[in-house]
């Protein structure tokens, strides 16, 4: 043992409790604000395309991560709301690590016109075996309930 004095009984061990007591408020950013406003106000899902790199980002970016050039606002376009289920999972735990009473489905969806995938809840009808490649559609909250959040999309619905 490294130390001359050590704990001799488990009753001597002690844990001191503490936390990092801050919370956070995040802006959506220049591109995020525009994307979420369109979702909120027009019920549209937008993508932004870097033409030279051939990538359509959903959610859109100010910049293309590959060439690092600005993605012009003129390249923004509507994508979806239909798309293809790329992957899916049923989550059994909540954020505290406890078992969920009702496990929750989520899916990665490639919206029509998008290069990549978007993560959201998935409404999986009973008795339907999920598989990659299934057609799905984004279901939005009613216009009056939307607040400019990714949660303005309720879930993916299997078609």
């Amino acid at each position: 043992m490294t130390f001359a004095d050590t704990l001799e009984h488990p009753t001597e061990a002690r844990a001191w409790k503490g936390s990092i007591p801050v919370w956070h408020r995040y802006t959506a950013g220049i591109a995020g604000e525009r994307f979420l406003r369109a979702l909120q106000e027009q019920g549209k899902i937008l993508g932004a395309r870097c033409e030279p790199c051939g990538v359509t980002y959903v959610p859109p970016r100010m910049y293309c991560e590959r060439c690092l050039k600005p993605v012009p606002e003129s390249s923004w376009m509507e994508v979806g709301p239909r798309g293809e289920l790329v992957s899916f999972t049923r989550v059994y735990l909540d954020l505290d690590g406890n078992r969920l009473e009702t496990p929750c489905w989520v899916g990665l969806v490639r919206l029509e016109g998008a290069s990549g995938v978007l993560l959201h809840y998935l409404q999986a009808p009973e008795g339907v075996l999920l598989r990659s490649g299934m057609k799905v559609e984004a279901v939005l909250k009613p216009a009056g309930d939307r607040r400019g959040s990714i949660l303005d999309i309720l879930h993916w619905k299997v078609l």
């Binding site: 490294t2 130390f3 001359a4 409790k17 802006t27 954020l95 607040r147």
Partner: protein
């Protein structure tokens, strides 16, 4: 000139948030911990509960280290033994604090200080608060002593010492 290499970033005012001009998400997730106190700090806290301050002696450099640790950071070897210190010390430096961390003003100033304890090697101080002293009377080099919570209220915490007060 460098001016052209400054991006005209978009600044917001707090009122933009209050007026809902800008979309936000908030997060109040948990960041909770239970840290193992281990050998040195575990014993230090237990001794506080008993109303005692303890340090550790390094047999290599002969220093008495306070707050205590199981290793000497200068000699890089385990420390050798526990040493009980006096309850008195000297104010190395202090401040008169008028605001809380979020800039809300305090009714009474707090007086944090670094106090070098008698019985430990020179300069071996800890952070604590001063009490029973008018703020304008606080001085560098002032002699102080620990004021403890009643034994039954002590829980093995640095706050078992309520504060340090001037001697005499």
């Amino acid at each position: 000139m460098m001016d052209q290499w400054v991006y005209s970033t978009t600044g917001l005012h707090e009122k933009d948030f209050e007026a809902g001009q800008v979309l936000v998400e908030t997060w109040k997730g948990k960041a909770e911990y239970a840290w193992d106190t281990g050998i040195a700090i575990g014993r230090f806290l237990e001794e506080l509960r008993r109303g005692r301050l303890v340090g550790r002696r390094c047999h290599s450099c002969r220093r008495i280290l306070f707050p205590p640790r199981m290793f000497c950071e200068l000699c890089f070897r385990p420390t050798a033994e526990w040493v009980t210190l006096a309850q008195t010390g000297t104010v190395n430096t202090y401040s008169l604090v008028h605001v809380r961390w979020d800039m809300v003003r305090l009714e009474q100033p707090q007086v944090p200080a670094v106090i070098a304890m008698d019985g430990a090697s020179q300069g071996m101080g800890i952070l604590h608060l001063l009490g029973e002293v008018a703020p304008e009377k606080v001085k560098m080099g002032m002699r102080v002593q620990a004021v403890w919570k009643p034994a039954e209220d002590r829980e093995g915490s640095i706050t078992d010492i309520r504060y340090f007060k001037p001697i005499g």
